[in-house]
Symmetry: C2
Subunit: 252 residues, 2 copies
């Protein structure tokens, strides 16, 4: 059975896209993976080197169920990793969905329609709890929550947990927190350790063991349109995302 | 005349809240300033030490024009700096506004109602281009755009500029880009300089001269609920925000 993860956190800039790209690439080393870019900014599409000219049809078509949705996943430069890119109309979908019928279930229906074509599907969410993220939470089995090791990080988490609870009760009884990934951890910065310790005391073993370090090779890789384990396999960033993939597989 | 700024960028984690808090505190050294926390996450309220128990009425009341809006600005620990905190119902306002009448003008009406009580009003926006940010763009004279010196930073800027143009034509003929502030600049990181150079070639002298450095004292100050120039007046972060305030005043 395909495992579907929403990579979500309404706090901005915490490493959602970075985690979606690199975890997807790490999982693709031994499985068939689909990455869905549900953020109108299209950072996941850019981070995998997908040009603007290749984004004619994508996640908007998947949600509005226009045309042949089976052909929406496109191969990326990474073996076993397919992508549904953020197309241009996606920016308007948040408002359009408000009045659409079955508005919460659209992405779920399209992704479930792929049967067993993929072993993992990861959905990169925008930094808000609106209709797009709601679609991802209804489509997913579990939520992966990147948590930046910075001061404001824990502030919005209870709002996210409440939203996940509401979605589980109203739309998707499978939905649960799949794990919390601590990102941009910086050993030299006391705040990092404080946030990590706080997260572990709140969430216990829902927090992954793997700490994703702040590592310049991760953002350099993005500027080259490729995952960090392809750009610099020996980097601490590559090692961390491979370890995280191992934990995600293990919690299966 | 009161100058009203929206601090906006739909990209997450770029330093909107950090810029709103610290620029407001720097301007407050010689002027009467109001900071409006329009982000349901409430990071600006937390960063100024406003407890959850003090957020009974705030920005939601300002938008829904409930009760005595004149009493919504509350003093902060910083002299000459008042705050309208993010109250608990703000998370629901984005959806509620969709069907409200005069939905784009509500915050503008409340803030204009303060007459000349303040010299500057800064509005901290959430990381999206929805109804809350739209209210801020209609209320403001100018937009201050924090731009993180990281790879994905420039990706969403053209969407923001298009939105500002649309708002100017449809709702607020004064609205313009007041300036672009380069944040989290790290001299040791080539990407920082690349992004800064790109921004200057796109936007010319709309980009402020002041570079806001990545400086741990800035996030430590937030964990103490106080602006960086109060927490550590000698830090590079404090100096940068004071310099930025000088530029903002100068462009009046
Ligand atoms: N471990 C890391 N080390 C260094 N830089 C990182 C790391 N993780 C993310 N970054 C950088 O931090 C910035 C924010 O990360 P990213 O864009 O993945 O966050 P996000 O949560 O997806 O943001 P948004 O809320 O806008 O969707 C990016 O510029 C990215 O390159
Ligand atoms: N110049 C800086 N030096 C060091 N850390 C910084 C700096 N500016 C911001 N930060 C930290 O980076 C993180 C993101 O900043 P901030 O929360 O201000 O961004 P934002 O754009 O308001 O995020 P959101 O999109 O969630 O509203 C915070 O944890 C903050 O403490
Ligand atoms: Mg992202
Ligand atoms: Mg913010």
């Amino acid at each position: 059975k395909t495992r579907i993860f929403a990579v979500a956190n309404q706090k901005g800039g915490v490493g959602k896209t970075t985690t979606a790209i690199n975890l997807a690439a790490a999982l693709a080393q031994g499985a068939r993976v689909l990455l869905v870019d549900l953020d109108p900014q299209g950072n996941a599409s850019t981070g995998l080197g997908i040009g603007y000219d290749q984004r004619q049809t994508g996640t908007y078509s998947a949600i509005m169920q226009e045309g042949d949705t089976a052909s929406l996943p496109r191969p990326s430069t990474v073996e076993n990793l397919s992508v549904i890119a953020a197309d241009n109309e996606l920016a308007g979908a948040e408002i359009e969905l408000i009045t659409a019928d079955r508005r919460e279930y659209r992405l779920r229906e399209t992704l479930r329609g792929y049967g067993t074509r993929f072993d993992y599907i990861l959905i990169d969410c925008p930094p808000s709890l609106g209709m797009l993220t709601l679609n991802a939470l209804v489509a997913a089995d579990a939520v992966l929550v990147p948590l930046q090791c910075e001061f404001f990080a824990l502030e919005g988490i209870s709002q996210l947990v409440r939203t996940v609870d509401r979605v589980r009760r109203a739309f998707n009884s499978d939905l649960h927190i799949g794990g919390i990934a601590l990102t941009m951890y910086d050993r030299r910065n006391n705040l990092s350790e404080l946030v990590a310790a706080d997260a572990r005391s709140f969430f216990g073993d829902q927090v992954f063991e793997t700490l994703i370090p702040r590592n310049i090779r991760i953002s350099e890789a993005q500027s080259h349109g490729t995952p960090v384990m392809v750009y610099d396999p020996k980097s601490s960033g590559a090692a961390a995302y491979l370890a995280l993939a191992g934990e995600v597989k293990g919690r299966g």
